[in-house]
Amino acid sequence: MSLWVIDKQAIAPLVTKMMNDYRVVGPLAKGVKFAFGEIEDVADLRLDYDTSILPPKKYLQPQEERMMTFTRSGKPVVETVIDAPPTIILGVHTCDLQGMHVLDEAFSQGFPDAHYLRRRERTLLVGIECLKPCDEHSFCKSMGTLTVSNGYDLHLTDLGDAYAVDVGTEQGAALLNRYGNADNATEIEMQHLNKVLAAKWPRFPYKLEFDAGELSSLMSQAYDSPLWDQLAEICLACGQCTLVCPTCFCFNVYDEVELNLQDGERRRRWDSCQLDEFASVAGDENFRERQAARLRHRFMRKGRYLHEKYGELGCTGCGRCARSCLVDISPVDVFNDLHGARV
């Protein structure tokens, strides 16, 4: 689609206008890190952030959400509830755009998940091109997520004093028309953009020692690797890696009842296959009791299972799991070790 340019000075008024009609969220400083949050003052928006603690998937699949309300008194009444405020997410990195694409597939294939899909439908994504690695844990280039050509409504590239704006969808175009003050990119600006995009690639290292296209077949041969037991020795089974993952979507469902014991809500919240009760059933049977098996299961989902089921790898190379791991288990090391053991 068409390419536009918007002056950096024009971003603040644009976002302010959006805030009248949408919940507008974006990267904000949180201590020495960054987190996606609802923007209250445009001056807080940090499109120059490195990475966020949690991926912006939390706006599509919230940590907790209501699924239905019920009342038990008299004739029971159950009503589906979908909390889906119209939302614009600003400054989504390309790895996270890919993460959302994985979630789109998971929640739409088979039985469609109306809760996720309604929220997705009401969410507009404004991506931003990464021009330097977040930190030493990023391996987006290896995973092929260092850039994307779709999955966004608008996509920004920092040109210094201005942003180049790529329009990805009609909704994106409408957003720009309605709130923006953008101009068609000139020949000179296009050339500038080409230079910026060309210059970024060498700044990102390849971290995997093999092509990500081989990951799925590598993982199918790695099931009996001794690595799982070795890692389980140090893994604390805390579940942080799954909490920060842009493609983890497992959840648990539970009921909450008011003090009157009659009215309540059925809710769901993020769950983690790393926690020991994840696969347990009533009557004390636990179908994935060993941490080595749980840890392996997570890597199998990331490297193989999701790919087989949805056609997309479950790892985007964002590096968050490695960054948050208390004992430094990193997918780059795991995948490289497995590859090294094979050759």
Binding site: T80, I82, G110, F251, D255, V281, F287, R288
Partner: protein, 283 residues
């Protein structure tokens, strides 16, 4: 600014149960009761043998329960044989006819009854494993002419844990059913076989090529029953197992019931042994 929307009919959530009425509650053992339920308007559940439903008790939660009744006897109702073992099932056991409870489903893949036609069927049920198998047994008996021999092996820990006693007697009395049962430990009234279910296998002779096996029981049982079935020469492609997992959502999303790359709630709960024998997490 949180706007919530109440979903409209055309985008109804797959997680929303319908309210079914409890028609009958029959105690079976100390831990198990048989519940007969009716969907709104008496409409059919439309299940195939081996499928399950998610039962909802609002304020308590939801649990996957296998359907115990056969489609051939549905009559606008369906039956669940439930052991009191968790929050939902314990509460269910306190419920009385007339109560309403939420139901979603049926979900998953059941037994491929059409493929079984023309063959001898060997059933091996351990304990509560009879609950899902009963659906297929009665379906096969109601279409008796389509099947060769019907052989039923059933084992429980002790006589007090025997389920569907009246029905077992009917099966045992039928000339066209070969019924064998055993208990791990007898008591003063027990005059039948004593020993685990595998002790029944030497009593039967089969034509393996023409036999399909359907089995369900506690996790520990499968390994031994499979050895017996394979030991009789039944092909791996003709052995079906119904597996239990934490099938929380029932629709292949929540992740709890995954068996390697398969979802028990969608790919199963009935699996062909040939399809899962390579999966370490299956058995």
């Amino acid at each position: 600014m949180t706007q919530s929307t109440v979903a409209t009919a055309q985008e109804e959530s797959v997680y929303r149960p319908v309210m079914a009425r409890l028609l009958k509650v029959e105690p079976m053992t100390e831990l198990e009761k048989l519940f007969t339920l009716e969907l709104p308007g008496g409409r059919s559940l439309g299940n195939e043998p081996g499928q399950f439903v998610e039962v909802s008790l609002f304020g308590i939660g939801e649990a996957p329960i296998s359907i115990s009744s056969s489609p051939s006897r549905s009559n606008g109702t369906f039956e669940l044989c439930v052991r009191s073992v968790g929050d939902v099932t314990r509460t269910m056991h306190g419920m009385e006819p007339g109560a309403l409870l939420g139901v979603r489903g049926p979900f998953g893949h059941g037994f491929p009854i059409e493929k079984m036609k023309g063959k001898d069927i060997l059933f091996a049920a351990g304990g509560l494993g009879l609950a899902p198998l009963r659906s297929l047994i009665n379906e096969a008996l109601d279409q008796r002419g389509f099947f060769g021999r019907v052989i039923i092996l059933y084992g429980t820990k002790q006589p007090s844990e025997i389920l569907f006693e009246d029905e077992l007697r009917q099966w045992a009395d039928r000339e066209d059913v070969e019924f064998h049962m055993t208990v791990d430990r007898g008591d003063e009234t027990w005059t039948g076989n004593v020993g685990v279910i595998t002790t029944l296998f030497p009593q039967i002779t089969i034509n393996p090529r023409n036999t399909v096996a359907a089995t369900c029981g506690p996790p520990i049982m499968y390994r031994f029953v499979l050895m017996e079935l394979l030991g009789k020469g039944i092909p791996e492609t003709q052995i079906y197992l119904s597996l239990e997992r934490r099938m929380k959502c029932g629709v292949g999303k929540c992740g709890h019931c995954q068996i390697n790359d398969l979802y028990c709630c969608q790919d199963g709960p009935v699996f062909r042994y040939a399809d899962i024998k390579g999966l370490e997490e299956a058995l």
